[in-house]
Assembly symmetry: C2
Homo-oligomer: 342 residues x 2
């Protein structure tokens, strides 16, 4: 169908374009009768105001999809916002598709790419363990964003943007050792986790080793499977168990800030203080780490830069047909009030 | 095109179906040569594994869209999860579309409904101020979820699910008055806010009035426009100004928990204590309100129930063609450690 313009509507109604616009925008300064007459014509002619038309175009034309695992992760909020801004700058549109933990993100991506004629895809969060063959079924460029770089990923097929989870985790635990802590507990992902949980655990183990500290398996604690992963509640329950176990420790390192906050609360509820009785450290650099009481010592991921880099790489692959790129960002150790010398 | 099944692939390759499945799922227990041969055929035939086919169907067939304003709002995370579960139960699929603060959600909805042949829409968050005529351009049933019921909404056109923001806000301020507070500051939305900010402010004013407390305009503080609204940072800055103003007050009521947490931090940074020096109360009942130190006195919104009711109402409208329904849920006053008697 050929598009009807606001001018056509104005002509049909025998009023000025500005009047039609006032009617559409529900402007007070317009006669009710005139307005309803205009709206009637608009409905008859199925006229779509310009901004709607823009949206229509926006939804049809060049589209990037972001497949997100773990939408409850506060870390992703600012990443998504940056994605949207950067994608708009490129005059592309943006679909946000939530993928369930148990769902196969690559299957979703392959079909979404076909159905929406996507130009590119960003995978945000979760693991990413797929055969090369299967990855090659995805015919559009894609970037793994903040997904722990996994050995099983063929680095020639897809790009990735992340921090070095091993190195940053090492940095934090090494810092705690520097404060004199030798009995450092860790709250990490379940043993079979193939992604960041594993990398951050390995960083912990290496840091202990390099500081001549023997690993105490009783201080390695895993998130509960029956509680939402990476949630404050999970951190609370795991830390409570640790405290109740009477196992001796002076610091808890949780592999994300939400877990660290849950751990702090468990310590308070046990009648103890942070950092006077126990030091607590997290990872990610969420806002709440700064606003918590005490503020949480953490590794800040430069999420805005990482998000920007993700989009730049994706568009290099789309427009300049560049080959896959892999960028590791530096995390920043942010010292809060939750850790102290012993 | 007619669909190729895994059986067809097995036949073409002269192997068992289980072998094809092992190849697809990158099972270790399969000969590499066989695998690549199978993957080659799969690619040639453009075969889509079943679960992908499911996704394809899922993305095509009966679809509900959720248009969300303020994706950074932690309150929405659990709502979205419940939406997805409930929508799946109904054998419908689910699109999550982020709408920018300044964007017109109704324009986006109207086009999305056409393009995706949506069966229904949920608007989550934000304001919703549109003319009846414009709302009538949206031809599919829609429900406003956790959007402050606004006078300008024609209740015969759309359904709504929310708490009574006026009443719940009144409940909280009345509680603070009951603790003996008479100089209660409020951190609320900018004066021109048409939605929950206004309703919660009015609840505050009415509660003061009914408790015979004269309103002190200097204690009514608005979020900064140049900082992300409803953020901890915004609450921090507004509370800091309030404290620095030397205006006398004994309690701060923030219209959401994130603002309340920012306010607490500002109080700590001023060398004061919560609740010993100032009581602080929030609204929403976020997890962090429970895990913060001290835990924040708040109004818990029954988000799971509200999300479930939203979907039930939407499907009543879709399937039983019922007319618009409007459900107000009871909030629960959750007393934390952030408020005390004076």
């Amino acid at each position: 169908m050929e598009t009807i313009t606001i001018k056509d509507i104005a002509k049909l109604c025998g009023v000025a374009v500005s009047t039609v616009s006032r009617a559409i925008n529900n402007h007070p300064d317009i006669n009710e009768e005139t307005k309803s007459m205009i709206m009637k014509v608009i409905k008859e002619k199925n006229y779509i105001p310009n901004n709607s038309a823009r949206n229509l175009k926006r939804l049809d034309s060049n589209t990037i999809a972001v497949l997100i695992k773990g939408i409850t992760n506060p870390l992703f909020s600012s990443i998504i916002k940056t994605f949207e801004v950067e994608i708009k700058k490129k005059k592309y549109s943006f679909i946000l598709q939530r993928v369930e933990d148990k769902e196969d993100e690559l299957d979703v991506a392959i079909e979404l790419a076909k159905e929406k004629k996507l130009k590119g895809i960003v995978f945000l969060g979760g693991h990413f363990v797929h055969s090369d063959e299967k990855q090659m079924q995805l015919k559009v460029p894609f970037v793994l964003s903040t997904i722990g770089s996994n050995q099983q990923i063929n680095k020639t097929i897809c790009s990735s943007v992340a921090v070095d989870d091993f190195k940053e985790s090492y940095k934090m635990v090494n810092y705690l050792c520097g404060l004199g802590h030798r009995k450092i507990a860790i709250i990490t992902a379940s043993i079979d986790d193939g992604s960041i949980g594993n990398l951050r655990l390995n960083g912990y183990l290496q840091a202990l080793k390099d500081n001549g500290i023997e690993v105490n398996d009783k201080l390695i604690r895993y998130m509960k499977d029956d509680i939402e992963t990476y949630s404050m509640e999970n951190g609370y329950c795991v830390a409570k168990e640790l405290i109740d176990s009477q196992e001796d420790f002076t610091a808890i390192y949780a592999i994300c800030d939400t877990l660290a906050i849950g751990a702090c609360k468990a310590i308070f509820d046990a009648g103890k203080k942070v950092p006077q009785d126990y030091s607590v450290a997290g990872f990610d650099g969420l806002d709440i780490a700064k606003y918590y009481n005490p503020s949480i010592t953490t590794i800040r991921q430069p999420v805005e830069d990482m998000a920007q880099s993700t989009i730049n790489i994706l568009f290099d692959m789309i427009r300049k047909k560049t080959s896959a790129q892999h960028v590791l960002f530096q995390g920043e150790l942010v010292v809060g009030d939750s850790t102290k010398l012993i």
